[in-house]
């Protein structure tokens, strides 16, 4: 883990920096292709991050609603909700794929 990825916030709480990417319908709905996030260290799985984003409300609440099919990848590998995320990771959320 890089030293600069873990920082102490103003409150002395451990924070975890990750890059989050959004693709296709999610990217359009959320109005952004990527975001740099500084997460509380208790958000350490894909499922936890999804809940965290849903709690922003509005478009985030509907994009990450429990009944919406959302897939994820950690460092460019497909990942399940229980997959761990750590400082410096590249996390991506997207709809089920439709290539081929």
């Amino acid at each position: 883990m890089c030293a600069s990825c873990r920082t102490l916030s103003y409150f002395g709480e451990m924070r975890v920096k990750v890059t989050v990417l959004f693709f296709a319908a999610l990217r359009e709905q959320l109005g952004r292709p990527r975001e740099e996030l500084d997460l509380p260290s208790n958000i350490n799985t894909i499922g936890g991050l999804r809940d965290h984003l849903r709690a922003r409300g509005g478009a985030w609440a509907s994009a990450f609603a429990p009944n919406r099919a959302v897939r994820a990848a950690v460092n460019q590998d497909m990942a399940q909700p229980a997959a761990a995320i750590k400082a410096g990771d590249e996390v991506a959320f997207f709809p089920p794929v439709t290539g081929g």
């Binding site: 693709f23 296709a24 990848a73 794929v97 439709t98």
Partner: protein, 142 residues
């Protein structure tokens, strides 16, 4: 083994010839996916896409005799009848070539990060994933 994710079109004949040069190759099976009757935009996840396809090709090569293989997938703006995807597998015998080609295509449909957006007269819409595609990939697990 060649994996390419590109905007440009491809030449099926040239790609098949390129993996047919070894005199031990006795069979090449190829699949070309085409755009049907609608204009579309294909988005992908640069970096992950190539790795995901390579992982699928490696799995195929561990299950069947694959002497060479080419996978090309296009992205960007595509018109009706355009070629979207090519999978070509060279092997000593047809059984391995057919099976590996179909396996790669089935897994690509459910594992490679591409998304199609169709542009129709009434507006644009993202294509929904099909349960049949998951079932097609799932049958290889037995």
């Amino acid at each position: 083994m060649k994996v390419a994710v590109q905007r440009e079109d491809f030449d099926l004949g040239a790609e098949v010839r390129a993996i047919s040069k070894d005199s031990k190759v006795g069979a090449v099976a190829s699949f070309v996916g085409l755009v049907r009757d609608v204009r579309m935009t294909l988005e992908h996840y640069p970096g992950m896409t190539e790795n995901a396809i390579r992982g699928i090709v490696d799995q195929a090569a561990s299950r069947w005799q694959v002497m060479d293989c080419t996978v090309i997938h296009r992205y960007g703006e595509l018109q009706p009848n355009d070629q979207i995807v090519l999978v070509a597998v060279a092997s000593a015998h047809r059984g391995d070539a057919f099976a590996a080609c179909e396996f790669i295509m089935d897994y690509l449909k459910t594992q490679a990060p591409f998304w199609k957006k169709e542009h129709r007269a009434g507006g644009a819409a993202w294509v929904e994933a099909k349960a049949a595609d998951d079932q097609a990939a799932g049958r290889w697990k037995s």
